[in-house]
């Protein structure tokens, strides 16, 4: 009997016990009509061949293991970063259960959002009544300060008009007339979660800036973008800007929302950009986006209102941070304090100390377009060689920017850029043109298992490791965190592959 009370075995060990192993074999042989083992082996090998790669990359319709999610997820994330804000997703309710779970699994935090729970009758008659009752219920039960409305596929396909629905709901008294109900149409069959983020941000600014007159001031707005490391990154951003004495408004500050304390109280709302700040943001001198592909429409909107704009690609690493800080000084006229220069020096020091382990390492990177750009750029600084850069939600413009970046360094010359491809394509790519390390999110663990390439988790979602999102990846200090993660993986691998019993080769105490 494998189980005992003294040492309780759960799935991780239990199913390796002979009783179970034998049972699996019997089930397979007698009942499963499974293909014979040699055939499985043969086909398995074939899936890693060049021949398979051609078929796999030649796919025109099928999508397998994509690295992207749908628009409303980004809208819910953006909506969460405002004071007392409740996300309300108009459409079928199953989607909302999914967004909440998805975010909770990554941040290990509560994730609140409501649905208008449309069903078959709403498909026929439209979802107006769901909007009217839904806003009334959400307002009464959860006492939000604003309700950020986005849409699921269902509402988009039947063509519900959010603006008119919200006006009618207000007429009916669902929420007070002056209560803020920003909205964004977020069709899941267009773009991805980063576009949903953009649309919701724009919707929020539209609502708060409507009818207001801009009195240009000195402030700077910052849009962080969709980011699994938002908790650490936004705090790091604020710290750096405070050191520079720059007055900023973070538009959608989720850093406290997805990092509430355990002290006996559940805070459905925590922190977030205050509604006064959002209103005041109209007067800012400029709006700066930390992630271009999360904010194209929003920045356009800011420009229309007379603001200067600038966007970055997830400032990570030495030069990307340099650029960001210098851009901030250009915009505000402040200077970069010595303390940040010291931090820069410490990062460069760390890179110099570890260069012999970093130089020439090859990488595959996947994730959202700005992240992949940032990561590749940082790796180039370490002497690493990105070989495959993939963004399922990256388009032509991104591809071009990537090529320019890679052309700027001799370490980038062998890199291929894969816009629009998925992780099953990446499997073929890495099987035929292997790399030393893979950088991406938790979904990459299947590639690690199938191909043996170690995975470094630096992108959303991270479900199977805890608390990484609490540490920044932006700025000089963030880059040190990233560096340590990469190095730990390299060293762990080196140890695991050396020091086999019976010899003492390469298992060095000091590295």
């Amino acid at each position: 009997m494998p189980q005992s009370a003294e040492k309780v075995l759960d799935h991780a060990k239990l199913f390796q016990e002979p009783e179970y192993v034998e049972m699996f074999e019997r089930k397979r042989a007698e009942f499963e009509n499974a293909p014979p083992a040699p055939m499985v082996k043969e086909i398995g090998d074939w899936t890693k061949s060049w021949e398979y790669r051609e078929k796999n990359l030649g796919r025109e319709a099928l999508c397998i293991n994509p690295a992207k999610a749908c628009q409303p997820l980004g809208a819910v994330f953006a909506g969460a970063g405002y004071e007392g804000s409740l996300s309300f997703v108009h459409g079928s309710q199953g989607c909302v259960a999914y967004y909440r779970s998805h975010l909770a699994r990554h941040f290990k935090e509560p994730s609140s959002a409501v649905s208008s729970s449309m069903t078959e009758d709403a498909a026929v008659f439209g979802g107006l009544n769901n909007m009217i009752d839904g806003l009334a219920n959400a307002y009464a039960l959860y006492s939000p300060k604003m309700i950020a409305v986005s849409t699921t596929c269902m509402a988009e396909v039947i063509g519900d008009d959010l603006n008119s629905f919200i006006l009618q709901a207000k007429e009916k008294g669902s929420v007070p007339q002056d209560f803020a109900v920003p909205y964004a149409h977020t069709p899941a069959f267009v773009g991805s979660h980063i576009d949903g983020y953009d649309n919701m941000q724009k919707g929020i600014l539209e609502t708060f800036w409507k009818d207001a007159k801009r009195v240009p001031g000195e402030g700077i707005n910052i849009i962080p973008g969709f980011d699994g490391f938002a908790v650490g990154n936004i705090r790091e951003l604020k710290r750096m800007l405070a050191l520079m004495g720059v007055e900023t408004t973070i538009l959608s500050d989720v850093s406290d929302v997805y990092d509430t304390p355990s002290d006996g109280e559940f805070r459905m709302y925590a922190g977030g950009t205050s509604l006064d700040e959002v209103k005041g943001a109209l007067n800012a001198k400029a709006t700066v986006s930390m992630q271009e592909y999360c904010s194209r429409k929003t920045l356009e909107f800011c420009e229309e209102h007379g603001q200067a704009t600038a966007s970055f690609h997830y400032p990570l690493g030495v030069r990307a941070t340099d650029e960001f800080l210098m851009a901030m000084t250009d915009l505000t006229g402040t200077t970069i304090p010595d303390s940040l220069k010291l931090e820069r020096g410490r990062l460069v020091d760390a890179l110099a100390d570890s260069q012999s382990y970093l130089h020439g390492k090859t990488y595959a990177i996947f994730g959202d377009p700005d992240f992949v750009y940032a990561m590749a750029r940082f790796l180039l600084e370490t002497g690493g060689e990105p070989r495959h850069c993939l963004a399922t939600n990256g388009g032509k413009a991104w591809e071009k920017q990537m090529r320019e970046l890679l052309a700027s360094s001799p370490f980038g010359k062998d890199c291929q850029v894969w816009a629009g491809k998925d992780l099953w394509a990446l499997r073929s790519i890495m099987a035929t043109e292997p790399v030393d390390l893979l950088i991406g999110n938790s979904h990459g663990k299947y590639l690690e298992r199938d191909l043996g390439t170690p995975l470094i988790r630096l992108a959303f979602p991270i479900f199977d490791r805890h608390h990484h999102h609490r540490f920044p990846t932006w700025g000089y200090q963030g880059a040190i965190n990233v560096l340590v993660k990469i190095l730990d993986k390299i060293f762990d691998r080196l140890d695991a592959e050396s020091g086999a019993p019976g010899q003492d080769i390469s298992f060095d105490l000091t590295r």
């Binding site: 089930k27 796919r59 729970s117 078959e120 009752d133 039960l141 069959f189 006996g264 099953w424």
Partner: protein, 493 residues
């Protein structure tokens, strides 16, 4: 009255009133029907411990209240079809639904992923605007060809419809029929669009019907062992964390032959072969009773519910199953129970003293809110409240067999209600889902996810009970709960 006194029952009635007070009138009237306190069992019904069917269920959720429910797609792709391992399940529509449900149900299986098994893959038609505008049938057609080419060992394909499919008038049945002929494999179209029905539940039903229409009623290709007198199917066990394996072992040990496992670790052949079995054993009644009833009508296969959570129910179930067979099996059942008794005794000796008297609130799907109750009883724990996301009236009726009067019952609970109930009752443990986990823990109350076993398991069978007991203990008795308040109290700034 047992452990619950009249005061408690009254307090709970009052609590319901308090919670309802927050709703706008129209919604209050509707929610009222879903909340109740379990009533004394009628004297003429000795089979039940209390009356729990006072609540209304399987009704549309109110908009804007933060229902915890999912949708029909989740019920079909996520629950019933997704675990069938040698088929490719297409999330048909835009990318989201499949992305969020990717690998989240922990349906364990043996096999080589991407080669002869496909459960932990997210395979989607990834609809773009043009597919919505011009229809997606062409794309589906092409996708099926590409699957056939890239996954030659897949035994079949299911098409799991997401919301847009039913709204744009696609004919996935026609495409499936045509392509099944072309590629020579089973293709199952499933109309489980998320807007159908009121929860996951209709998705289960639709998925069951699609098994009936597109698998059982077709000429299957399953070859396999000659039918035997002890052949059974396990139905409605999704092998979460390996549940179905811990169950299978016991049934095999007692001399039965499990010819099909629906649908955890299942193959298409196991489904096709099911009608040749002698008995269907159903664990999750809610999600798979439909197909059992069908097999009973059509093939005369009897079915019975059983419960493999906790030693009392395991023993009772083993005996009840054995009753359907001959004396040899009955003797074997006793042997199996006797064999595991020392393990049960040791588990109880170790954990019961640490858990005795602790109170639990549950809120799960369609089965566990009643099925796990006796496992907690076995550990000396007390159920303070329970409720289902997507049960029907027959589930609430059955709930009365397991829970005591005075227990708080909440159907399709809202985020608001659950938070208030938990805050007021302050149980020693809450068992629910990922969305509920962190709010409850922040309040300083231990929590276990009872859909996914919180990444643990199995919980079924004797092997599973030891893990269940360990997990409840580690959740409740972890020292972190004593660290919540800072010691300086008034000294704070």
């Amino acid at each position: 009255m047992d452990s619950m006194n009249a005061d408690t029952a009254e307090m709970r009635e009052q609590l319901i009133e308090e919670v309802l007070a927050a709703y706008p009138d129209k919604s209050r009237k509707k929610r009222q029907k879903h909340l109740a306190v379990a009533q004394p069992a009628p004297a003429d019904d000795p089979a039940i411990a209390s009356k729990c069917d006072g609540v209304k269920s399987n009704i549309k959720s109110l908009p804007g209240v933060m229902t915890i429910r999912g949708c029909a797609y989740a019920g079909s792709k996520g629950v019933v079809w997704g675990p069938v391992k040698d088929m490719v399940h297409i999330s048909h529509g835009p990318v989201g639904c499949g992305q969020y449900s990717w690998s989240q149900r922990r349906n364990y299986y043996t096999g080589t992923t991407g080669v002869d098994s496909f459960v932990t893959m997210q395979i989607t038609t990834d609809f773009q605007e043009k597919d919505i505008v011009f229809g997606g049938d062409k794309k589906l057609d092409k996708v099926i060809d590409e699957i056939a080419e890239l996954f030659p060992l897949a035994k079949g394909i299911s098409v799991q419809s997401e919301c847009p499919i039913g709204l744009i008038g696609d004919d996935i049945e026609a495409v499936s029929r045509k392509k099944a002929k072309e590629i020579g494999k089973t293709i199952v179209p499933v109309r489980c669009e998320g807007f159908r029905g009121v929860s996951q539940s209709l998705g289960h039903h639709i998925a069951n019907d699609s098994i009936r229409d597109w698998v059982l009623e077709k000429e299957g290709t399953a070859t396999g062992p000659q039918p035997g007198p002890y052949d059974i199917n396990i139905v409605g066990d999704y092998n979460i964390g390996g549940d179905a394996w811990a169950s299978r072992r016991l049934l095999e040990e007692m001399g039965l032959r499990v010819v099909g496992n629906w649908s955890g670790d299942a193959t298409l052949a196991e489904m096709e072969r099911a009608p040749k079995a002698k008995l269907n054993l159903i664990h999750c009644y809610r999600s798979m009773n439909y197909i059992c009833r069908y097999m009973e009508e059509k093939y005369g296969i009897p079915w019975m519910e059983y419960n493999f959570f906790g030693p009392s129910q395991i023993a009772a179930s083993l005996r009840a199953v054995a009753q359907k067979f001959d004396e040899t099996i009955q003797e074997n059942a006793e042997k199996v129970i006797a064999k595991y008794q020392p393990l049960v005794d040791a588990v109880l000796a170790k954990y019961r003293p640490r858990l005795e008297g602790k109170s639990v609130m549950l809120y799960v799907g369609g089965l566990r809110p009643r099925h796990v109750v006796t496992a907690y009883d076995d550990l000396g724990m007390v159920i303070a409240g329970t409720g289902y996301e997507f049960a029907h009236a027959d589930d609430y009726k059955r709930t009365g067999e397991f829970i005591k009067e005075g227990t708080l019952i909440y159907d399709d609970v809202t985020g608001y209600e659950l938070e208030k109930f938990v805050e007021k009752i302050r149980p020693d443990l809450v068992g629910s889902g990922i969305k509920e986990k962190y709010p409850v823990q922040k309040m300083g109350i231990p929590f276990r996810q009872m859909h996914s076993w919180d990444y643990s398991g199995p919980y079924h069978g004797y092997d599973g009970f030891a893990i269940f007991a360990r997990d409840m203990d580690l959740a409740i008795n972890n020292p972190v709960w004593d660290l919540f308040s800072a010691p300086w109290g008034e000294k704070a700034a």
